[in-house]
Symmetry: C2
Subunit: 146 residues, 2 copies
Amino acid sequence: MAGSGELFVDLVRVETRLWNAVDVRLRAEHGLRLGQYDLLTVIAGRHECRVLDLVHEVAITVGAASKAVDRLVEAGWCRRVANPADGRSSFLELTPSGVSALSGARRTYEEEIARWTSRLLSPGALEELANALRTIRAALEAEQRP
Amino acid sequence: MAGSGELFVDLVRVETRLWNAVDVRLRAEHGLRLGQYDLLTVIAGRHECRVLDLVHEVAITVGAASKAVDRLVEAGWCRRVANPADGRSSFLELTPSGVSALSGARRTYEEEIARWTSRLLSPGALEELANALRTIRAALEAEQRP
DNA sequence: TATTGTTATACTCTATAACTATA
DNA sequence: TATAGTTATAGAGTATAACAATA
């Protein structure tokens, strides 16, 4: 049990610094924040994505998600379309501009992450890391699921 | 190179959810936020800790660090003492109340993190994960060093 | 002139909760 | 009554920059 705390500190520091490194490049080269890139990717990857789906996937509050979507809409990358089955919610869809912003940013995103992962670790160590993170993520989401 | 993006998303989700899980328990059981626990640990672990040392260790801005220290002082966990060698900066020190808050919180912190790491992965997988994170952290800090 | 730290502005996110509309 | 989402408040973070004090 001792030592897990150090592991967590390393996890937090890596996440913070890697997030910042990717964010700096996305903002400079594509005018897109990493948080927005993240949301656009979730919207693109779900069939009928609602605000609450973003909340559960990204683990932010409903209010923050609602305002973040406002900013995506304002930037022209996303729109709300009526949900015919439930008048309380809308489905979120990328606009053509959103699709193109996302695909332009993806190259930078993958490249910067690869600099600190696949170019730094052996294929075996990378695979182990990916497996461990998947395992922990699944356990956390199983318990924290609403 | 493809697939590193997924790894990063898992890293971010694990960090967010694990941070939240620990933060909830620390606030409920010890009246301490995880961000404050983190700063107090850094201060406790450095001989003559200045505000700029927090900035470099935790990767926050100078303004945020200065205000965070104000709140630690206000809570009675920390004090600024004059730096005799440099009148521009102070050394940060834990008060007895800060030392006891930290040691009380440490048990909860280690226990909650262990739930999602050492109790979830084999000793070998845990060791691999710790090594990978240490490697990536060292590389990021070497490049981002001020 | 450069460094350390404080302070200020504007924006984003947090927790929390009131509120509307719909199921 | 419960759920989906919007809106509002206060507190804490971000970026950015002006600023004071000291090196």
